[in-house]
């Protein structure tokens, strides 16, 4: 402790001394030092960017090289039995899950945000309340959502292990994200558009639907894509609510295993490491194509 204080004092003294010295250095030397520092920082940013790209590249390469050789028809078999390795039912369940979650959370979150930004006075206690609630919800670990979903939807409401329990839980989990991204998107629409619309005698509703929302779409869309990514990537919350039964669900009350849960399941068996990697390849493709599609759509929206 003492030594730490000593170091600190020495450090500060050195810093002050250096600063003092700086003021006496000739202009040319100073300028040169600034340039050198600039160079050092520039190279540092390159190094950090490089590390990030390398890490990402390594992960992708690792998954592809371990997974692609093991992609076999067996992994896509339509008819499955218990404990099977086919991911076909999981793909169906994932898509279904995503659709239902979006159908619930996007309208709900979007209109909450519209209400907060366009209808409520900024800084009113109600807005603050909802906003802090959303903030808190956003910070809760997904397994807690899983436990809540288990207690509330699965047990209390008697939905059991089902797509419905799972997607309702996920919908609540996605709400803060949708609300926040929509809020940001709405705020980024210039007030001059609102004024222009009101000045023509358009009401609030028309202004929101014809002017504000269309212009906020790219931002809202970005939020939706993030949400899709999180639903696809979620496992903890779903294990407790949607369950882990590998089957093509025939109703919303059937249990279902999404791709990510399927991967977790496969890897926990121990003897299916190769199949797990192959599944990861598909998951990766799904996520990457989602990103690509979102990029294209966002660009289309922004082009006016």
């Amino acid at each position: 402790m003492l030594r730490l204080t000593l170091y600190l004092v020495i450090g500060i003294a050195l810093f002050l001394a250096l600063k003092h010295v700086y003021t006496y250095l000739p202009e040319a030397v100073l300028r040169k030092m600034v340039r050198i520092w600039d160079k050092i920082f520039l190279s540092l940013t390159w190094v950090f960017a490089g590390v990030t790209v390398l890490a990402l590249g390594f992960i992708i390469f690792h998954i592809l090289s371990n997974g692609i050789p093991h992609l076999s028809p067996r992994l896509f078999a339509v008819n499955v039995t218990l404990g099977d390795v086919s991911m076909f039912p999981a793909i169906i369940s994932t898509v279904l899950m995503v659709i239902i979650v979006l159908a619930i959370s996007v309208p709900l979150g979007m209109f909450t945000a519209v209400f907060l930004v366009e209808y409520m006075r900024t800084g009113s206690w109600f807005v603050t309340l909802i906003r802090s609630a959303a903030e808190i919800l956003a910070g809760i670990p997904s397994i807690v959502y899983g436990l809540f979903g288990m207690m509330f939807f699965r047990v209390f409401l008697g939905m059991g292990f089902s797509i419905l329990s799972g997607s309702l839980t996920m919908s609540i989990m996605m709400l803060p994200l949708i609300i926040r991204t929509t809020e940001e998107a709405l705020k980024s629409v210039p007030d001059t558009y609102r004024e222009g619309s009101f000045a023509l005698g358009a009401g609030k509703l028309r202004t929101v639907f014809r002017i504000i929302l269309p212009n906020a779409m790219p931002g809202i869309f970005a939020g939706v894509i993030l949400a899709i990514g999180r639903v696809v990537g979620e496992s903890a919350a779903l294990i407790f609510t949607a369950g882990t039964i590998l089957q093509i669900p025939s109703s919303l009350f059937d249990s279902a295993r999404t791709l990510t849960v399927h991967m977790w399941r496969l890897s926990s068996y121990g003897q299916y490491v190769n199949e797990t990697y192959a599944t990861a390849v598909v998951l990766l493709l799904v996520v990457l194509s989602l990103n690509a599609v979102s990029g294209v759509i966002a660009r289309k929206f922004t082009k006016t």
């Binding site: 900024t122 558009y193 609102r194 009101f198 000045a199 023509l200 005698g201 028309r206 212009n215 006016t304």
Partner: protein, 248 residues
């Protein structure tokens, strides 16, 4: 005939008083210019007339404003804004096609027939002296137009709902001299059919195009009269000081 009549208008933003007991009236088919140094309340007055101030959270207005003898607070606010159009200082076309920009207002007020919309859009663009420049690209984004064209588009957009009064808040302050000239000509042309109230910092502009001039200072209306009288023979020495450029 009196179009707008204002009696003892006080406007507050929070505790700050922006307009103090302003009273005057605006005649039909005249151009009234509002002049005065920055912050004296010209925009505030303009925004009170079509109740755009309703949108400002802490804004409070007292006094009487009538349009054709009827209190504007007795009218439906959207209908009031249809009758009293507004052109803003900075052109603010919507990020949509030229056609959709102009058609937005008429559509708002229930016109759906494609044929009628076509007619309205063409007429509005012709009235705003923009038709010849954009007739071949109505489907293109309005954001691709030049600043001057955008401002005339905004005028056309305001005209398309067939207002009775046109409020213009420094409509030429962002424009080059040629575009400014066009907008001025336009305003004079339009005053045959519309009543126009225009805010300007340009004394020559006020003198050139307006019939009446009102001079504001620190939230008070110092002088109001025919433009000729106000500019050649101002009653108040502050007015004279302002228009001769000795302060402001």
């Amino acid at each position: 005939m009196i179009k707008f009549d204002m009696e003892n208008i006080d406007v507050f933003y929070g505790n700050e008083q922006a307009l103090k007991s302003v009273s005057f009236s605006v005649e039909t088919n005249e151009i009234t210019a509002l002049i005065g140094p920055s912050g004296c309340g010209k925009s505030t007055l303009l925004k009170s007339l079509n109740r755009m101030n309703d949108l400002v959270e802490n804004c409070r207005i007292t006094g009487k404003i009538t349009l054709d003898g009827e209190s504007i607070y007795g009218l439906d606010v959207n209908h009031l804004r249809k009758r009293v159009g507004m052109v803003f200082q900075k052109p603010n076309p919507f990020p949509m096609s030229i056609f959709d920009n102009i058609a937005f207002g008429p559509r708002t007020h229930g016109i759906k027939s494609k044929r009628r919309l076509n007619d309205i859009v063409e007429k509005a663009l012709r009235d705003a002296a923009l038709w010849s420049e954009v007739s071949d690209r109505l489907g293109k984004s309005a954001l691709g137009l030049s600043g001057g064209q955008q401002q005339r588009l905004c005028i056309a957009r305001a005209l398309a709902v067939e207002p009775e009064v046109l409020l213009m808040d420094e409509p030429t302050s962002a424009l080059d001299p040629i575009s400014t000239g066009k907008v001025e000509e336009l305003a004079m042309e339009l005053s045959k059919d519309y009543t126009i109230i225009i805010v300007t910092h340009n004394m020559q502009q006020a003198a050139r195009i307006s019939n009446k001039t009102a001079f504001f200072l620190l939230g008070e209306m110092v002088e109001h009269g025919t433009t000729e009288q106000v500019f050649s023979n101002p009653k108040n020495e502050k007015t004279e000081a302002y228009i001769t450029g000795r302060f402001g």
